[in-house]
Every structure is written in structure tokens, then in C-alpha cells.
Point group: C2
Chain length 434, copies 2
């Protein structure tokens, strides 16, 4: 007797992916080390019911678990690699304007001050974003989300932070929501009111922080437009004291805390993140050994953003190796933004994490999936393939997960599935591993 | 009276591209500096007859030059940027095997010696390539050429160098030719017999160099399978004396000389390239000030390969700024190969040239077009858009050429034309400059 015969259609798979040469579920035991956490299964299959994973494991398990294939759409993975969809835990996808000319000036040797004097820098993006309509920002966001989806990114955090008034920050958050509503990607939204001090508050930083704490955070939380808030803690930006005030407001309003810390100057930012109970401390190029221990002790996630280290021409990358060895959970993000990381190329971020942050390909893949999901409080939901998790996955043009970081900065996604829907099917299912 | 009325069909445009927002012909006066060399035309059009550019300039010039549009296919460039197709002057596209596992070992801290002991390194690729059939190598090459074409690369240099026997080097060259014959890309072939010393010649390097000089070079030249020869001059590879012998054989057999020099150790390689009359001295991370002066004096092209500097985790990039300031002609290449630059991402190379070699976006674009063409002796033929040059061009999803390097490592090609044929038309003709 077969239980499946009594299942209704909702419990029958809508999509079955078989002939998976290497399935990396990222749902294994993380305490057992990276290889264990990857939980690799050769000759595997996946069954999806609606937007959820029903089964992910050995191909033989489909029959053993009495999974009724019924009228499921079947996709032959051609013996290729399947991983969870990538999770990008740190981006600034919504902005208006273009800073190509500023980039050229910077390449020609212009100093930071000269760029500011020429009207460049973050405040140029703020001016353009303030001038843009919610509708146009939503369109720009949607185009960029498409490019992320092309890479196999299925969950993405997006920050505000180029509005810097209550109205413009909320406009950005609504634009993100609007783009998210028409996107198959899962989009998690962060209010970054404390990204830069707007021109009209020069010399009155504490007043601006009050605006963030008393108006922006309550409104963003009440409207449900943001799950997190974030602060750029840096010389010339916001102080530890500002961050403490914002952390308190976030806590009072039920928003999770994320921090940009220890990027350009060593400022005890990781220790601050630990003290404030942040979910994630991001950048960390200048983190101290004590900062690494603090993150480990407090269970704060380290967000590595190597594309911006490269883009800013810094030679010191965040010490991913030391962070991993200290037992800190690591998340990867592109940090896509027009000033310091103008690239949606997630594959490049993955490769740089290996080449420059000292991670292994296994650790980098975990940081791009379960690690990033953990920093967004999406454990078990995103970044892994196990029964009940969202059916977000990628069939890659490769047969081994190590190829993803090795074949640097190249897109590998042959098929992208998000929420159980096939988004992308590009070209034949062949490996480029040779 | 209109002369065009007397033209036969061959002289009538087969393809006309209009509504070009920014045309960068790269056909301007290089003595006038990078901006002058780019020769930018706003509101432009291009007319193509067969595989050649008939006209590239202001849109109004089509009528002024009595160009009979006849039955030409018309392509509306949507106000976007058009540049020459990219020229990649240094690649190793043909090889068998996959070194993902070796990459993972390297990331986990394995030393060069440990990797060699585990059967890795260049000789692993040599073993796999020797074992592969000409047919399978041609297929691998063709797949990779497709990925280059996706990026807008329309001319590419491809080296042998993983055979290291007469038969296997010729097999590689025939595989390149076979792939080239079925590819719309222009492929220029280089014999790199002196890439590494094969295991069977350990301790007998001079005998191997004799094989290169007396057998490989004459055969490659006589069969027409190679236009150039190349030598990897480096500690543990080949010496200046070896390079001199090979240069003599190349000259005797009518092959142009290219050199890998000054990559890992400062060895006076640029000076050697100047002495030997090489067309191109590539890598140059460790070039000396005297080496820079030598290249300038001798008119040797400098080949910058920043992807491999990144991939090898070197912190010292070739001094592109100093080379440009000294008046050295610069070419860019991906150096695509499985050991030190596993990436066909030409956009990444372009961006790294700005971020890490110190070029401006204008200089990097010139190095990827006319500069690389010059190093391959294809001046006026490839890398520029002027009457008579090969009709190789890209319509980019951007409105300004500076966006190409700024938007790091992302493909921008919306339409790729090679030899007058439209190869790629992907998605709507919209800009991602916002």
C-alpha cells in the first residue's frame, strides 16, 4: 500500500529534478567542518512541492520515500552540480545616477577630496536618488535583481541609505518592496539611514542620529518596510555612540541590527558589534585579533565583502581564514553599490573570498548559502536544500562545487529555480569543467 | 548624380547600425593622448559591406557620403555605446582536464611543492592534454571561444604549450585551427613549445630547446599553423639564453616573437624582449625602471594580464601607469589558463587594469582594442572601426565607455558583430547605467 495515493495534489511534487551528478545541500552538520556542512550527495534527485523542497537526496530515495511523481514537471540535470540558490547578505541595489565619470577621475589619480569637490562621492548618489521617483527606483532595482538572478542569487538583502531624509528613505524602502513584489527573489530589506551624514546636517550629526532613531526606525518598522537597520561606523561617518543609540532604537522597534565596521580604519568595530548584539558585522578589513574573539564569543556573523576591498584598491582583505578558524560564522555579500563595489558578479565575490580572504571553496560556498542565510535569520529557509526549505536552487555548468570559485567571475547558472519556479534555463546542460 | 547607383551589391552595405549614442572608434590619433585616440563620436552610425567597415562616424555622414542603404539590414542601437570588438592578446584557451581540486588545495594552504607532489601544476594539464584527442581539444576550445564571444571579444590570440612534444604541440595548433575555422572570431595562433620543461627532459633543458628550435618552430611555420612563437622566461622555466636561441629560430622561420617575462622574479626580461625584438613582453609584474625604458625605446608592446596577478594572489601588479607614462604601447589579455587565470571574463580584466595596473578607463579600452591589435600586428584590421577594418563591434548596455570598466566584471555586450555578422543579440537594448 502506497501512502502517496492518498496525497492530494498540493502534496504531490510540482517539479522533480533528477540526474544530478553532485548535489550540495549545505544542510549538513556545521560542527563537523565544511565538508560535513556541505552534505554532498552524488547521483541525487530533488522533489519540490509548490515553493518548498519535499525531498533532496540520493536518487534512489525518491522511490524509497514513496514520492508520487504524478504529473510533476521533470528536469534532467544532465549529471551536473546542483547547489542552493546563492544568498547575498549585503547590497545597496537601489540608487539612481551613474558614477562612471567619477570612477575615471579616481583612476586618473584624483584624491577623495578632489572627487568630493567635483560633486562626486556618496552624496552625488544621494542627490540623484532624492531626485528620482519611487517608480524609477523600483525599475532600476528590478533590473539589477534580474542580473543577480542570472548569477543564481535567489535571496538578497537590500539596504536603503541614499535618501537620508525620512521621506526619501521610506521612498527607497517602498521601491525595494515594489521591485521585490514583482521579483521571484526573496528580498530582505534594511534601513540604512545612518549611511552618511547629509549635507543639510553637517555639524549636527547628533541631530541626524535623532532623526534616524526617532522617526526613520519607528516608521520603517511600523510600516513593515524593513526587517533590519544598519549603521556605517567609520571615521567621518558615524561613531560607536551613534551606533549604540541606533541599536537601542532598533531593539525598541523590533528591527535586527547590522553594522558596517572596521572597513577603512581599525576602530574596535567588531567589539562594538558584539557588545550591541548585532546579527552581522560587515567589512572587517581592519578587524583586530580581539575583535575576532569578540565576534566568536558573541555569535555575531562576519560579513565579508571582498569585491569592495578590490574596488577600493585596498591591499588588506578581511581575515576570513582567521575568522573561520576562530569559529565565527561567515556570510558573503557582493556589497553591490555605485561607490565601492559596482558589480552584481556573485561568482567574483565567491572567487575573491578564496583568493583574498583565505577561505576554501567549501567555506566560500557555505558563506554564500547557509552562512549568509544565517546572518539574515533565514536558517532552514534559504541557503540550504532540505525538506521544508524554500525551493531555491541552481543547476550549474559544472560537475564539482569547487569549480564555482575556481572558474573566476564567470556565471555558471544553467537553470535557476526560485520558490519552486524555473526562472532561467540558458543554453544546453553541459559542463564547462572540460 | 549619385555614384551609389552604379555600385554593385558587394559595395552596398549589408548591415547599417544607427542611433548609436556614443561611438568609440579607437581609430583616432594616438599621439594626441587617450581621449584623442578613442575618437568618440556622439549620435553616430556605421555601415558595413560584407565583413568590412564602410563607414563609421556621425549619423549625418551616411547621407553626406551617398551611402546607398539599399536592402541593408538596419539595427537600431537604441542610443547605446558602440566600441570595436575586444581583442585579447594573450590566452591559453586549449587545454584538457580540470584543476578545481588543485585550486581547493591551494586555497587550503598547500604549497607549490605539495601541489606538484599531489600531481598538480602545469604538468597535470600537460598530461591531460597529451591524452586528449585533437577533436576533443577543438571542442573544448570552441566552447571557450563562445564564452569569449559572449563578452564581446572578436579577436583572440591562443597559444599552444601543454603538449610539449612535436606531435602534441602540432595537435594543439591544429585543434585551435579547427575551432577557429568554425568560429566567427578571428583567432591568432602562437606556438608556445617553451612553456614548461616536460618531465622526460628534466635535466636536459638545452636538448628540449633544440627540439623547439629545430623541429617545432620549423614545422609550425611551414604548416602555417602559427604566426607567433613564445617563451616563458622565468626561474625554473626557460633562460634568457634559451629565449635567444628560440628568437633566432623564430626569425629564421618568419614567426613573430612574444615573451612571458618578469612575472614572478625580476629577471631583466623586458630588456631581453627589447634586445630580441619581441612584438610583446607580457606579465611584467617585476619589470624594472630600466626595463620600462627599454620597451619604450625598442617599441615593444607591454602585455598586461592582471587577472593572473589576482589569481596568483600577488600583491604587486604590473606598473601600467608607469608603462603608459613612458610611452609604451599597452595590450590587455585575460591570460585565460587553468593554472593562473581561470577566467574568460574580459570585463574583469578591463576593470582590474584600471583598479590595479593604474590605467584610466580610456587607456584600458584602448589596450583592449587597438593596443592588443597592435601587439598582434593587426593595426587597422582589428580593434578599430574605420573604413576597411574588419567589421567587429559591440553594442554595449551602457551609454558611456567609462561604464565598461566601472561596472566591474559584468558582461555588457547586448549585440556582438564579428566579420559583419551579428553573433549575439541578447535581451532588450537598454542601458544598465541607470
Amino acid at each position: 500500500m502506497n501512502d502517496a495515493s492518498t496525497k492530494n495534489d498540493l502534496e504531490r511534487p510540482s517539479l522533480v529534478i533528477d540526474n544530478i551528478g553532485q548535489l550540495v545541500t549545505c544542510a549538513g552538520d556545521r560542527a563537523g567542518g565544511p565538508e560535513s556542512a556541505l552534505a554532498i550527495v552524488d547521483d541525487a534527485a530533488i522533489a519540490i512541492v509548490g515553493d518548498r523542497i519535499e525531498y533532496a537526496g540520493p536518487a534512489a530515495g525518491l522511490a524509497e520515500n514513496d514520492i508520487d511523481l504524478g504529473n510533476a514537471r521533470q528536469l534532467d540535470a544532465g549529471g551536473l552540480l546542483v547547489t542552493p540558490g546563492f544568498v547575498d547578505s549585503h547590497t545597496h541595489v537601489v540608487f539612481a545616477g551613474d558614477r562612471s565619470a567619477e570612477f575615471a577621475h579616481r583612476c586618473a589619480g584624483a584624491s577623495y577630496l578632489e572627487i568630493l569637490q567635483a560633486g562626486g562621492g556618496i552624496l552625488a548618489t544621494v542627490r540623484a536618488t532624492r531626485a528620482a521617483s519611487e517608480e524609477s527606483l523600483a525599475e532600476l532595482c528590478a533590473d539589477r535583481l534580474e542580473r543577480f538572478a542570472d548569477q543564481g542569487v535567489t535571496t538578497i538583502e537590500v539596504k536603503s541609505g541614499y535618501g537620508l531624509t525620512l521621506a526619501d528613505e521610506l521612498k527607497m524602502l517602498r521601491a525595494i518592496r515594489q521591485a521585490a513584489d514583482s521579483s521571484p527573489l526573496r528580498v530582505e530589506t534594511t534601513l540604512l539611514g545612518a549611511h552618511a551624514l547629509p549635507e543639510e546636517y553637517q555639524g549636527r550629526r547628533e541631530h541626524y542620529v535623532s532623526l534616524v532613531c526617532e522617526d526613520m526606525i519607528p516608521e520603517a518598522a511600523e510600516s513593515g518596510l524593513a526587517r533590519f537597520t544598519d549603521v556605517f561606523v567609520e571615521e567621518g561617518a558615524f561613531t560607536a555612540r551613534d551606533a549604540s543609540r541606533i541599536a537601542k532604537a532598533a531593539s525598541d522597534n523590533g528591527l535586527g541590527l547590522r553594522l558596517h565596521v572596521d572597513q577603512l580604519t581599525a576602530g574596535g568595530g567588531a567589539e562594538l558589534a558584539a557588545d550591541l548584539g548585532a546579527l552581522s558585522a560587515d567589512h572587517l578589513e581592519e578587524i583586530s585579533p580581539e575583535g575576532i574573539r569578540s565576534l566568536a564569543r558573541a555569535g555575531v556573523c562576519a560579513g565579508l565583502l571582498p569585491t569592495s576591498t578590490l574596488f577600493l584598491r585596498l591591499t588588506k582583505y578581511a581575515p576570513g581564514r582567521e575568522l573561520a578558524d576562530a569559529g565565527v560564522a561567515i556570510a558573503l555579500g557582493t556589497n553591490f553599490n555605485p561607490g565601492s563595489a559596482m558589480s552584481e558578479n556573485h561568482s567574483l565575490t565567491l572567487g575573491l573570498a578564496c583568493l583574498r580572504n583565505g577561505l576554501t571553496p567549501a567555506e566560500a560556498l557555505l558563506a554564500s548559502t547557509v552562512g549568509a542565510a544565517g546572518s539574515l535569520r533565514l536558517e532552514g529557509e534559504a541557503g540550504c536544500l532540505e525538506p521544508g526549505s524554500r525551493a531555491d536552487l541552481v543547476v550549474h555548468r559544472a560537475t564539482d562545487y569547487r569549480h564555482l570559485a575556481f572558474h573566476l567571475g564567470m556565471p555558471h547558472a544553467a537553470v535557476v529555480v526560485a520558490g519552486g519556479r524555473i526562472l532561467r534555463e540558458s543554453g544546453p546542460l553541459t559542463s564547462c569543467q572540460g
